[in-house]
């Protein structure tokens, strides 16, 4: 299980339908309110890893505004992985909230 933000964001965007590289970048930025802006090279590297793991698949190309675009789509495996990651993140978040509430001071206990 890999809960890297870029990876999760890609899967999240693709859960909504097929998308090309530039579209992914814009939606990732939107998802994270601008805090997540991976370099283009980073995005394609993660896309390559996801594709090799079978979580996303090449969904053909289209020419848009005179430029060739390659689309990616989420596979059933990818959907399962996203669901599992979300569950894990939810558990971690819940525990973090509980602990923060229990001990509000930042000072470590002795």
């Amino acid at each position: 299980m890999n809960i890297d933000p870029v990876r999760l964001s890609i899967l999240t965007v693709l859960a909504d339908g097929r998308q090309h590289g530039y579209g992914l970048l814009r939606q990732i930025e939107e998802l994270s309110s601008g805090s997540l802006r991976p370099a283009t090279g980073t995005l394609y590297r993660v896309l390559d890893l996801l594709e090799r793991d079978g979580l996303i698949a090449d969904d053909g190309g289209e020419v848009i505004d005179g430029r060739f675009r390659r689309y990616f789509a989420l596979t059933p495996t990818g959907r399962d992985e996203l669901a599992a990651s979300v569950t894990l993140l939810g558990e971690i978040t819940a525990k973090a909230k509980t602990r923060l509430a229990r001990r509000p001071s930042a000072r470590p206990a002795r």
């Binding site: 890297d4 530039y22 283009t40 090279g41 993660v46 890893l49 996801l50 090449d58 390659r70």
Partner: protein
């Protein structure tokens, strides 16, 4: 095609060809859409990310032919550098009145070794030569360095090398092991010579340089030295990715070359190979740098679990 697009396309050369052919147009379209600038050159951060992504794909792919080529190109360069250094070390021996065979007499042997070592560049089948290579290199060094001719050292070296090769399970690891071992060995010999010369001319070089030389002191500590080398190679190969071990072995070469250049200044006779040393050092430093960048990015946060899992 604009200048900017042309420079983006030039950058894409770092990616494996199959990937570039499928994804290149889309990557360029993304880059152009993202940065609507009038600049003729790509932003530095994008260029860096593209280069590291391309190198990572080339080096970290488990099943890609271009990974195989990149691997062996790097290995071939390191082997060539090591051979070059070895010939020079033999030359230093001669100049310093050591009883080493003349480098010219050894040339056919080095040549044969380089051809055999680089054979995997040409064909997959030649990879079967791998297990033979480590012992061959050790024998070659035994011939070149009179101190290694002691039968005990030779037997131990051969046994350890076979062990290392057997332990190195990944398909290409043998060449890493060989490169690492030879790099460290040559570095040790050179450092030892540096210390010899420092003693002779009593130069004010830092104490640290002297220490490196003593650690690798060859004539008195051959046996222990080989053991230490072999152990460190096993450790490196066992715990880190194989190609990081290659980078480590490449690191030894420039350090050695720099040491050599720094001592050349204090020599009482002319040494006509310093320029060659400088060029080799620059090439090696560049290789090490790019491999290190790829290593850092490749093992980084973003893809570590997936990346490790897919590198079988």
């Amino acid at each position: 095609m604009s200048d900017l697009e042309r420079s983006y396309r030039r950058l894409l050369i770092v990616f494996p060809r199959s990937y570039r052919e499928r994804m290149g147009d889309d990557i360029v379209a993304t880059l152009l859409a993202r940065h609507r600038t009038n600049d003729r050159r790509p932003p530095a951060c994008e260029a860096r990310a593209l280069i590291s992504a391309g190198l990572t794909m080339r080096l970290a792919r488990g099943d890609d032919a271009s990974r195989f080529r990149a691997w062996h190109l790097a290995s071939g360069v390191s082997v060539a550098l090591i051979v070059y250094s070895a010939v020079l070390v033999a030359g230093i021996n001669l100049r310093g009145n050591w009883t080493a065979p003349a480098p010219l007499a050894l040339a056919p042997m080095w040549g044969l070794l380089v051809v055999v070592s680089c054979a995997p560049l040409a064909s997959h089948r030649a990879r079967r030569l791998g297990p033979l290579l480590a012992p061959m290199w050790i024998i070659a060094f035994a011939v070149a360095s009179p101190w290694l001719l002691a039968p005990r050292s030779l037997v131990v070296a051969l046994a350890l090398c076979s062990l290392i090769v057997m332990m190195a399970r990944p398909a290409n690891a043998w060449i890493t092991v060989v490169s690492s071992a030879i790099g460290v060995l040559v570095g040790g010999v050179a450092a030892n010579h540096v210390v010899e010369r420092l003693d002779r001319v009593a130069t004010p070089l830092p104490r640290g340089v002297m220490w490196v030389g003593f650690v690798f002191e060859w004539p008195s500590g051959g046996f222990e030295y080989i053991c230490i080398t072999a152990l460190s190679v096993i450790l490196v190969v066992g715990f880190v990715r194989p190609w990081i071990a290659l980078a480590a072995s490449l690191c030894v070469v420039p350090v050695m070359l720099v040491l050599q250049i720094s001592t050349d200044r204090y020599q009482t006779y002319d040494y006509d190979l310093s320029a060659g040393f400088g060029i080799a050092a620059a090439v090696a430093a560049f290789l090490v740098l790019s491999l290190a960048i790829a290593a850092i990015r490749g093992t980084g946060r973003i893809d570590s679990p997936t990346d490790t899992a897919s590198q079988t």
